[in-house]
């Protein structure tokens, strides 16, 4: 399984970095205010929004190449979670398209979600 590439600094993300953690729950509400709740997902999954600014052309190309290598959101990869310090397997890009912006020489930017999946 491929591993998400780091920038030239070694980091995989920049501040601010939003992330979410959760598990889908179905809630059926009754007229008297009570409810019935159950999981519709086997376990909790994490998601990270990776916003990268002021990238060199080489760094931006590296992200583009990795996205192409994974065939967008088709193939899973390992993501080194910078918050927990653990490498999370079975992650995918959150969308089938990747937008990269070349705003100047060695001043590129991109933003995308990485999502944890069952594999």
């Amino acid at each position: 399984m491929a591993t998400f590439p780091g920038l030239t600094s070694g980091a995989v993300a920049q501040y601010p970095m939003p992330q979410t953690n959760g598990q889908a729950v179905q809630i059926i509400r009754f007229l008297d205010g009570s409810d019935q709740r159950y999981f519709t997902q086997g376990r909790m999954f994490r998601q990270w929004q990776i916003r990268l600014d002021l990238l060199t052309d080489q760094e931006l190309e590296q992200v583009e190449n990795f996205f192409a290598m994974q065939q967008g959101d088709y193939t899973s990869f390992s993501f080194p979670d910078p918050i927990s310090g653990t490498t999370v397997p079975n992650c995918r890009f959150g969308a089938s398209t990747l937008l990269t912006e070349y705003t100047g020489i060695d001043r590129g930017s991109t933003s995308f979600w990485v999502i944890e999946t069952n594999g």
Partner: protein
């Protein structure tokens, strides 16, 4: 805070925002979210803007306990805000007695109990904070002028009950108004309560995903919603 009410029950939603949290703070929130299974399991939510005590406006209600029944409570006394909403509390017994209220909340949170007290003659009054196995008392002077006595701190007690109240010596009489309990170090302005208080035992996370943003090294922010139903 948003409040929506349906016929027969009420549903309250709190949107809570935090900035500049440390890693242990954010891990505590994540741990609680995971422990609840997100919105699946209920937990007790303490409204940080409200008084945790029931019937703070009526000390004669049964929720205020005096097991020996030797304490009498009479309303209609002049209160510190110009009304007639204070209560005269008298211990008619021959031993020290307490008028207390017990809540089903953790004993070891940091709580602040406050109450306005006055008496025609200068005397002392004792406030009680009790967990399942530990009790702390604070005594203060009471005179003709209204004074807000405060008892705050954290008990070294892993119990799931917490009681606060007023201890009176034999024959002692006090005029009391505005008891308030808050899960914070110091008191905020008094809020009168009746049959509803700021403790909600049937609360759920109202979000399936807990959003967290790392904004700087060891600094995090988050915003989420909690819902309670009666």
């Amino acid at each position: 805070m948003f409040l929506s009410v349906d016929s027969g029950y009420s549903r309250r939603l709190w949107t809570l925002s935090y900035i500049d949290l440390s890693l242990p703070d954010i891990q505590a929130l994540e741990s609680h979210f995971a422990g609840c299974g997100g919105p699946l399991r209920a937990f007790t939510f303490i409204d940080p803007t409200d008084n945790m005590l029931l019937w703070s406006s009526d000390l004669s209600q049964p929720v205020w306990q005096n097991p020996s029944a030797s304490i009498t409570v009479h309303g209609g006394a002049a209160d510190p805000f110009g009304g007639l909403n204070a209560f005269t509390i008298t211990n008619n017994g021959e031993s020290t007695e307490a008028l207390t209220q017990t809540l089903n909340v953790p004993s070891n949170f940091h709580y602040c109990f406050s109450i306005y007290l006055a008496n025609l003659e200068e005397t002392s009054a004792t406030l009680i904070r009790s967990g399942s196995s530990t009790t702390q008392t604070v005594s203060g002077r009471v005179s003709q002028s209204w004074a807000r006595l405060i008892s705050a701190g954290r008990l070294n007690d892993s119990g799931t009950e917490f009681a606060v109240g007023l201890r009176l010596s034999p024959g002692q009489q006090l005029t009391a108004f505005g008891p308030q309990l808050e899960a914070q170090p110091a008191p905020s302005p008094y809020r009168a309560t009746a049959q509803d208080s700021g403790v909600y035992p049937n609360s759920h996370w109202a979000v399936e995903q807990l959003p967290i943003a790392a904004t700087a090294p060891d600094l995090f922010s988050t915003t989420f919603t909690i819902e309670t139903t009666d």
